[in-house]
């Protein structure tokens, strides 16, 4: 739909449908083009298929029908993912956890060390590289999870409601940091959330979805230029955008009923 100027499509999903066990329609007629450099939010109530869409993009499940096409080759390190939980391995140190994507490709810790170091620097956890996950707070664990997703400098990072379980102060801080990380990395981000405020603050495209069956209801562009800072949260522009997105979400909820 509204492709931003000068951005080339990275991923095209056309007429995607996903039905589980032949009866539950999780996604119906999903059409979406993700452009390189987008910060795209999937926003919707539970059951709208936003997580299903993410799993389809990750290649963890396959569509019942429709096509999902990547422009150019999709290499192993082209995709990073962050789940709702930090999903760290408790028996490894922070640095070893971040090593995982490289380790699975047969790259030794020594070879990957520079990348691990810069990923941890990016999330502000350099001092904790030798700590075990249990020694960290919830927000710090999430940062490690983000560092692991970014360490290979992927083209696309998927985040599945990563900050839903965190307190508001931590969430705001991580939102600010996430934008900085994205800018530093220059990657594309797809962010699943059920928070209107989070989606407006972070993204330049908000895709509103409705449930039963899961489908896209509308797309809104948030044209405020980056870098966005904490003062954006209190601006009139922000309020106007959240109103628009809330209305769209309200329609989505109405449509679902």
């Amino acid at each position: 739909m509204t492709a931003r100027h000068g951005r080339k499509p990275l991923l095209t999903m056309s007429r995607i449908e996903k039905t589980f066990r032949g009866e539950t329609v999780a996604l119906k007629d999903l059409n979406l083009t993700v452009n390189g450099g987008d910060f795209l939010s999937l926003l919707g109530p539970s059951g709208c298929g936003k997580s299903t869409a993410l799993r389809l993009i990750a290649g963890l499940i396959h569509p019942t029908s429709g096509r999902l096409e990547w422009s150019g080759e999709r290499g192993v390190g082209d995709l990073g993912i962050v789940f709702q939980e930090p999903t760290l391995m408790p028996w490894l140190t922070v640095a070893q956890n971040v090593w995982l994507p490289y380790r699975l490709r047969g790259k030794s810790f020594a070879e990957a060390q520079n990348d691990i170091k810069s990923a941890l620097e990016l999330v502000g956890l350099s001092e904790f590289s030798e700590a075990h996950p249990r020694e960290l707070s919830g927000g710090m664990k999430m940062r490690v999870s983000i560092a692991r997703a970014m360490v290979t400098r992927p083209r696309l990072i998927l985040l599945d409601e990563p900050f839903a379980a965190l307190d508001e102060i931590t969430r705001f801080k991580l939102n600010n940091d996430l934008l900085e990380m994205k800018a530093a990395l220059g990657c594309t981000v797809i962010f699943v959330t059920h928070s209107v405020f989070e989606s407006v603050f972070l993204s330049d495209r908000v895709i509103v979805m409705a449930a039963r069956p899961g489908r896209v209801i509308s797309e809104l562009g948030i044209d405020t230029p980056y870098p966005r800072h904490a003062d954006f949260r209190t601006s009139n522009e922000y309020a106007a955008h959240t109103r628009d997105v809330s209305n769209a979400l309200g329609e989505a909820m109405g449509a679902a009923a």
Binding site: R55, A58, G59, L60, V76, L79, I81, F83, E85, T87, M89, P90, W91, L100, P101, R103, L104, R105, F128, E130, A131, H132, P133, R134, E135
Partner: protein, 283 residues
């Protein structure tokens, strides 16, 4: 701990009480059981001497202690023999149990086909199988070993199987996204997730291997196992040498405690950095 602690400079009343209680608990943890032990020995001694209980009914702690010292030349090799059988059985239980658990988790077909038989092997009392083993297995030593192995291997198998399946689903997804091989998934994800479960199984299996070894010595006899502690105990009872009988019994107990201590230590050393079971909670 690599996190900086902002230790409070002063202790308030509540913290003082807590600190004192902790100190007392640390001492009591050792002194109380020792005291109970000393009192029991004293009661035992008094009961035997005051009532003139004949030594072939219940020997006092003094003759038993004497027997441990005087029969040491007999008891020590017996203890080694029983230890060897136990450790060998435990070793085979670990390798067999882990190998089977890995096979079960790698192939659903294998699990469906064979798991019920592992259960049957477990629930059949080993004492009932032992005479058969003696008949069908030529080497009495192998029969004794099998006997001890059957008892010990099931907790390893069942715990390790559960453990291998207990890895986080999101981590499994992550491994899929990064194109992990089957081996990498086993080595880096399933095996470490299974470790706490396996070590729990190991502690149970250690005790059971000793029980299996004792049963094997009783049922299969010294031809197969050599003269171990249980055989010594049995012979002493035939000869009404109750001092030696009790001495052998105590050494079997000590062996059991030793095995438990060693497996617990292994478990602690392997998990202390990360697993909840091995961590001291601060506060």
């Amino acid at each position: 701990m690599s996190l900086p602690d902002d230790a409070a400079p002063t202790l308030d009343k509540e913290e003082e009480v807590r600190a004192r209680r902790d100190r007392i608990n640390r001492v009591a943890k050792w002194t109380l059981p020792s005291l109970v032990m000393a009192l029991s020995l004293l009661a035992w001694h008094l009961y035997v001497t005051l009532n003139d209980v004949p030594h072939y009914v219940l020997p006092g702690p003094v003759p038993v202690g004497k027997s441990i010292i005087e029969d040491w030349a007999l008891l020590w090799p017996a203890m080694l023999t029983t230890s060897r059988l136990t450790i060998l059985a435990l070793f085979l239980a670990v390798t067999g149990g882990v190998a089977l658990a890995v096979a079960f988790t790698q192939s659903r077909w294998a699990e469906m086909s064979f798991f019920p038989y592992a259960v049957i092997l477990q629930v059949t009392p080993v004492v009932a199988i032992a005479p058969l083993l003696q008949i069908y297995v030529d080497s009495a030593f192998v029969a004794a070993l099998l006997c001890a192995w059957i008892v010990a291997f099931f907790p390893i198998l069942s715990n390790t199987t559960t453990g291998l399946k207990s890895a986080d689903h999101n981590l499994h997804d992550l491994f899929t996204i990064y194109g992990a091989t089957r081996w990498q998934r086993l080595r880096y994800l399933a095996a470490p997730s299974a470790l706490p479960y396996f070590l729990g199984g190991l502690r149970i299996a250690g005790g059971l291997a000793l029980i299996g070894a004792v049963v094997a010595e009783f049922v299969i006899g010294r031809t197969g196992t050599g003269l171990g502690l249980a055989s010594t105990l049995l012979e002493a009872s035939y000869r009404f040498n109750f001092g030696r009988l009790y001495a052998a019994l105590i050494l079997i107990s000590i062996l059991g405690i030793g095995i438990f201590a060693i497996t617990s230590l292994i478990s602690h050393l392997m998990l202390r950095k990360w697993h909840e079971s091995a961590l001291n909670r601060e506060v």
